[in-house]
C-alpha cells in the first residue's frame, strides 16, 4: 500500500518517468494558509546539485567552492527536474478546505534511454530485480518506476503541510556523518574522492523534534518508534534506525541508560524522548543510517539474465555520489507526517 496514517493520511503515487507524481492528503485541517510558495524551501533542500546544499548552508559547511561549476563534487546529481508543485484540490483562495489535498509534480526530464538495460542486468542495490519478479516484468522500467527516489518529492510536499499542522513543534534533521566521517570539514574531499573513483558514499542523519506534548503514541503496536520507523524505512536506502542511545544502549547498564526524572520530566535523554512507546516530553531524537548510492559509475560484475552469464554493468547517467545529502528534509517530512497523524 502507498498510504500512511490513520487521521492525517498520506497517499503517494506516480512513477519517476511517467506523467506526474503526487500525493493526496486526507485529514488536513481546514482554514490553514497554504500556497505553492510554501513548498519552495523544503523542495530546494531535497533538490539535486548544490542547490539543495546551499539552501541550508550545508554547502558552505561542506567546504565551499562553486556549485555551478562542480556540483558533482558536492555529492548530488546535477540532473534538473521540474520540481514545481501544482495543488489540484483541497485549497481554495489560498486556504485549505478540509477536503483531500492533492499536489502533483509533472515529470519533465525523462531520458528513458538511460535505463534501457536493466531488465537484462538488474542494478545491484536497486529494485529492478524484485520489481521484475513481483510484477511480472510489467513494472515501468524507465527510471525505476515507482521505486525511484523521485517519489520522495511528494513526501517532502506532504511534510510541508504536516509541519504547518504541527504548530509549536520544531523538527530538524541534519546529516551528521558522510562515509563514516563526522567531521564536516572533510566531507568535500571524501565526496570528491568517491566521485573520482566512480563510487559512492553513505551517511547518517539525525532528527530531533522538540515541543512535543507528553502522551503521543500508543503502548503497543503503534508506539512512536514503531510509527516513525515504519515511515522512515519507506525512504529508499535506509539501513537502520535508532532512538536515543540506540545500539549503544545495548552496551550500557540500566543505571547508566535509565533517565531519572526531575521536576520537569527526564533529566537526560537516553530514551530519545519515548518511554513505553509514548512521548515523555523530552525531544524525540533518532538517527537514520543511509546506504551509499547504489548507482555507481564504476563497473560492477553481476548477472546478465538475458544472456544467462556473468557480465559487467556500467551504469550511465549522472547520479548522486551521496544521496544521503538530500535526505534530511525527507526524514523531517516523514517525522512530521507521523506526528501530525498522532496529534
Amino acid at each position: 500500500m502507498n498510504t500512511f496514517g490513520r487521521i492525517f493520511r498520506v497517499s503517494i503515487f506516480g512513477e519517476s518517468h511517467g506523467e506526474a507524481i503526487g500525493v493526496v492528503m486526507d485529514g488536513v485541517p481546514e482554514g490553514m494558509a497554504l500556497d505553492a510558495a510554501d513548498f519552495a524551501a523544503d523542495i530546494a533542500r531535497r533538490a539535486p546539485g548544490a542547490r539543495g546544499a546551499e539552501a541550508r548552508g550545508d554547502f558552505a559547511a561542506a567546504g565551499g567552492g562553486s556549485p555551478a561549476s562542480a556540483p558533482a563534487a558536492f555529492g548530488t546529481t546535477p540532473r534538473v527536474e521540474a520540481d514545481e508543485p501544482q495543488i489540484l484540490s483541497g485549497v481554495v483562495d489560498g486556504h485549505t478546505t478540509g477536503a483531500p489535498l492533492t499536489i502533483i509534480f509533472r515529470n519533465a526530464n525523462t531520458r528513458s534511454g538511460d535505463y534501457s538495460d536493466f531488465d537484462a542486468m538488474p542494478r545491484p542495490g536497486h529494485a529492478d530485480y524484485v520489481a521484475a519478479v513481483k510484477w511480472d516484468w510489467a513494472n515501468d522500467p524507465r527510471g525505476g518506476g515507482h521505486f525511484s527516489g523521485r517519489i520522495t518529492l511528494p513526501v517532502v510536499a506532504a511534510g510541508v503541510v504536516a509541519k504547518k499542522v504541527l504548530e509549536g513543534i520544531d523538527i530538524q534533521a541534519e546529516l551528521i556523518e558522510v562515509g563514516g566521517c563526522a567531521d564536516r570539514a572533510r566531507w568535500p574531499e571524501l565526496l570528491a574522492a568517491a566521485a573520482a573513483e566512480g563510487d559512492s558514499l553513505g551517511g547518517v542523519v539525525q532528527c530531533t523534534a522538540t515541543g512535543l506534548p507528553i502522551g503521543l503514541g500508543e503502548p503497543f503496536f503503534d508506539s512512536v518508534e514503531s510509527l516513525v520507523s515504519h515511515a522512515v524505512f519507506s525512504i529508499p536506502g535506509v539501513r537502520g534506525i535508532e532512538f536515543g542511545d540506540g545500539f549503544a544502549a545495548s552496551r550500557m547498564k540500566g543505571s547508566e541508560h535509565n533517565d531519572p526524572f526531575g521536576a520537569d520530566g527526564p533529566v537526560k535523554n537516553g530514551a530519545g524522548g519515548v518511554n513505553g512507546g509514548i512521548t515523555n516530553g523530552a525531544p524525540l531524537v533518532f538517527r537514520v543510517a543511509f546506504k551509499p548510492t547504489s548507482s555507481i559509475a564504476k563497473p560492477q560484475r553481476t548477472w546478465n539474465f538475458a544472456e544467462n552469464r556473468e557480465d559487467t554493468l556500467k551504469i550511465k547517467g549522472r547520479h548522486d555520489v551521496c544521496f544521503a545529502l538530500r535526505t534530511p528534509v525527507i526524514v523531517e517530512a516523514m517525522t512530521a507526517i507521523v506526528l501530525a497523524d498522532l496529534l
Copy 2:
C-alpha cells in the same frame, strides 16, 4: 491501537495484573492443526528463569550451573507465572476454523503491592510517567498495566500460529550480544556481576528468515523493513534496528555494499534480503538492540512527584538482570506475524 496487520491481523489486550491477557487473530487459514501443546516450546523460551534459557540450550551456552538454585544469575526473573494458553475461539476439534482465533492467559500472580509507589515516583525508563499523564492517572498502576512485558506473552502465542501459517519459511532469532559482549562464554560472569551490583544489562538479537519468496513487501509505505521495524519496535525496550549491513552500510562505499547478482539472486547479503522494500530471495537478516532492564535494585535518584522533591527510588521485587535473554522468541513472533500478513 493494539492491532497489527491487514489480512493476518493480530490484536492484543490485557493488563499485567488484570484478569487475563490475550490475543485475537483474524485471517488465520482454516484447517490448520492447532492445540495448546503447540505453544509450549515458544512460551518456555520467553519464560522467566532458567526455563527459558534451557529450552534453547542458551543456559548451557551461558555457562551451566543449577537454574533452580540460582536463576537470577542467569539473567531472568524467577517470578512464576501462569503461562497456560486457553483457546477461546477459532479452533474446533484441534483445527482452525477460519474464524477469529482467540487465546488468553489468566493472570495468577498479581502482587500489586510491589508496585504501589510508582504514582509518586515513576520508575526511570518505564512508562509509569507517560501513562499517568496520557490517561490522567486512570491507568492501572499495578504492574505497569498494559505496558508490562507480560503483554509479549500473547505475542509469542500469535507468533506460534503465524509460524504455522509460514510453511517452508524458517525464522530463527538468537541473542548475539549481552552487555556489548559477543563471547557467549563470558555472559554468565557478566550477568552475575550485574546482578551483584543490583544493575542490569542490554543485548542484541539477530533474526534471520529463510525460504521467503521474492516479491514480499510494497515499494513505499509498506516496505518489508517498514513493517518489520513497526512490529519490532512494539516490543518493550527496543532502541534500534538495522537490516543487512545496517549502520555499517553508511560507512561503506557503493561498490562494497551493493549486492551483485548471480544466476540465483544476490551473491552476498549486505541488503539483508530486501531491495527497494521488497524481498529479493536472500535471507531476511536484521539485528535489534535491547536496552538494559529498567527495573534495577540499585537505588536511583529521581523525582518524587507526590512530595515535589528529589528522592531515592528503590525498586523491590525480582526483575530480569537482562530481559533481552527472553526476547529472541518475541522477535521471531513479530517477524512471523509480519510475514504471515505479507503472504
Copy 3:
C-alpha cells in the same frame, strides 16, 4: 475482518458453540465507571424468551399472557444461555483504563447434536452452505459457528460501552412492524399463528438517535449512512435499510422531500438527519428490515448434498418465531458503536 471502526474500534470473536464469545474494544476513554451490572438491561433485551420482551414492556404491548408457560408464543426461543459478561481487561477498580477492553461470555448450552445434519443438508437461509465452500467444510458446524446470532451478544455489550461514551446522545430502537403489521395489538396472534404452523415472521426496526452534534461523518466514503449501514448489515438477517423518507423519497418530488431550514436547522426530517453524508442536527432516523427467522420447524424441500438428491429437511430444536423481536437493542448497539467512532 471482524473489526469495525477507526478510533473506537470493536473486534468480535467466538463461535456459538465454542468455549466463549467476546469483544475487544480499542479507543475506550479512560476513567469511565463500568461494571458487569451495567450490561444487564441491554443483555436482557436481547435475551431469548419473554425476558427480552418484558424488559422493555414489549411483552405487555404484545398482548400479555404468561411468558413462563408459553414463551414460544411471544416469538423468541426459550433456549437458556449463559449471558453473564466477564470483563477480562481494560477495567480496574470499576473504571476503564484506556487500554483495550475485553468482555467474554462463556458458552454453556452447546447441544451440538441439534446441528448434526447441516453438512449434508445446508439449511435454507443460513450460512451453512457458503461456510462449507468458503472454509472447505472446516468451519465449526455446531451451531452455525461464527455465523450464529449469538455473536450479537458481544455486540450488545460493546454497545453498552459505546452508549456510555456517547454522553448526551440518546439512541432508541424499537420494532415497528411484525410480519408486515404495524398494529402491536395484533402481534401476539400473528406470532402464535406462525408458531402453530412451524413457520416464522420478519419485522422492521426503527432507530432514532437524538442529541447529535452537527458535522459528524465524512463527505464521501465515510458518510454517516455508509457507516451505519455497514454496521447494521453486519447483523444477521438484515435485508434493507432506509434513512428518513427512505424508499418513499424516490417517489416524492424535490419540493416535498427537501427539508427547508428554520432558525434552528431543518424544520422537517425527510433526510433522516443527514445531508451530504454529514449529520445536520436533526435526529438520525432509519429503518431496518429483518427477514423472517430462517430456521423453521416446517419441513422444507431442499438438496441433500451427501446423497445428491432432493430431500426434506426438518430442523429440530427451538428457534425464535420472529428473531426481529430481539434486534432493537442490537441495532442500537451498532448505531452507538458507529457514533462513538465518529465522535
Copy 4:
C-alpha cells in the same frame, strides 16, 4: 476519509470547482491493458444531458424525441463538462504497472457565480449547511465543493478499472422506477411535467452482478451487504438500499423467503445472492432508492442565516430534473470497486 477498500483501494479527491478531481487506485493488478478510450462509454452514461441516456438506449426506451433540442425533458442537466480522463500514473505503454493508478479530470466549466448565495441561504437537501458548520465556513462554496455530484466522475473511472479486474463477472445496473413509476413509457411525460413545474423526481436503481464465486465476504463486519451498502451510500442522494426481497422480506414468512437448495445452489433468490454475509453463487441483486434532485427552480421558503429571517430561495442555473437517470453507472462502479476488493 475518502478512501475505500483494503486491497483494491480507491481514494478520491477534488472539488467540483477546483483545479481537478481525480482518483488514486492501489492494488490494481499489473499488466492489464488500459487506456483513456476505455473510459468513454461509462463516462458517457454518467454525463449530463441526453448523451447519457442514449449511450444505453435509455433515451429511446424513455420515449424518444430529439435530445439536442430538448435535453431537459429527459431529466438531466445540459451543462457541458470536461470529462476527459488523464492517466497520471500506474499505466505505461497502455498497460497497468501494479503501482498506484491515478486518473484526473480537469474542471473547466466553473461558473461560481451561480453558487454565491448559499452561505446565507443553504440549499435545502444539500450539504451547504453542514459543510459550513463542520469546516467553519472554510469549505469551498463554489459548486458544493467536495460534496458535488461531480465527484462521482472519478468513481465511474475507478469502476471501469474495477470491472476490468473482475473478468468473468458481469455487473448491470438500470433504472427501474422514476417518480415511483415502473412504466418506462411514461417517464418522458413525468420528467417533462416535473421540469415544467420547476420540480424534480427521484428513482430506483436495480443492480445485478452475475458470475460471482461462492464465498466472497466475511461473516460479520465485512459482509457483502455491509461493504456494498457502505459504498453505495457514498453516492450523493441515496436514501435506501435493499437486497433480494428487501423490505418485502420483512412481510414474508420463513417458508416463503427462504431459498431452498438444488444441485447447483439456491433455486430462487430471495436473499439476493448472499447468505450470512457471504456470496452463495446466485446473482447479487439489490435496489437503491435515490431522492429527487435537491436543486429545484421552484422557489423554496427557507432560512436566511445572514439576515436571520425566513426568506425565499430561488436556485438559478440548470439542474437535473432527475439525477437518478445518471446513477446506474455509478452504482455499477461502486459495486465493481467492492467486488474487486473482495476478490
